[in-house]
Symmetry: C2
Amino acid sequence: MSAAEQPEGGVRRQSRQRSAVLTLLDELDGFRSAQDLHALLRDRGDSVGLATVYRALQALVDDGQLDVLRSPDGEAAYRRCSPSHHHHLVCRTCGRTVEVADPPVERWAARIAAEHGFVDVQHDVEVFGTCAACAAAHG
Amino acid sequence: MSAAEQPEGGVRRQSRQRSAVLTLLDELDGFRSAQDLHALLRDRGDSVGLATVYRALQALVDDGQLDVLRSPDGEAAYRRCSPSHHHHLVCRTCGRTVEVADPPVERWAARIAAEHGFVDVQHDVEVFGTCAACAAAHG
DNA sequence: GGTGCGCATGAGAATCATTCTCGCATGGTC
DNA sequence: GACCATGCGAGAATGATTCTCATGCGCACC
């Protein structure tokens, strides 16, 4: 833990557990917590250790194959998504997620940062709401 | 935990510890974690329990006097700020923060949500970067 | 097809932030 | 000045995530 940050790791080995995690995420369309995913895997018979789920998720995040979201109570939620830059519109009732890619926000963030002399800018945008289906069911 | 969510609390009592937390936050201009704040209070001689710091912070957040930010490693960070709606531009090196209030993003979020049939919309935007001072010091 | 190396796995312990418990102190009110 | 609810503090409890370490197994090579 002093210097080398393994530039491109070694081989990323294929394993039953990792494909199980990825497969499960492919079938779900909302953000799920690591604990949730672990429970779901157990349910469907794919016995996987909790630590392994965390490791698999981190590896996938590193690869850019997953997006992470931190719920207000501190739990991390993961979701399979396209590798290009985008943001999320999340239903706070059913968890359904829509990927949103919109140049205006990107430009806005860049402009705001530039105005204040900030460089090397990243941004983080999430929009929460109630989707049409849930709003209808609720009313 | 069944029904009553004390609508407007009772009396919010004044105490040495609460003012100490608020005073400290007034003097700092970046986001600080609860643990940090607790340590700082101890350092300056204001002996305050950790639980009390958390309670005070939550009360202040409820009052809208503080903003909360969740760092990627799951720690919550707090900062004194204006009560009106705004977002933050945060220096990832020194933690310096600039409040940004800009109508375009608000409109963007509302539009995106509307396009997908979402209602009752909230959004969460943070912009991270390196401020001019830190960029200069670093290069 | 067989062998070996090294990363991956898994169970449980460890860690860390946060919340809860409970008895005591004290602010604010009458 | 007394009373009662709310705040305090120390430490235990909780819950998510990470670490440890012995064993398992994917994959490259023969």
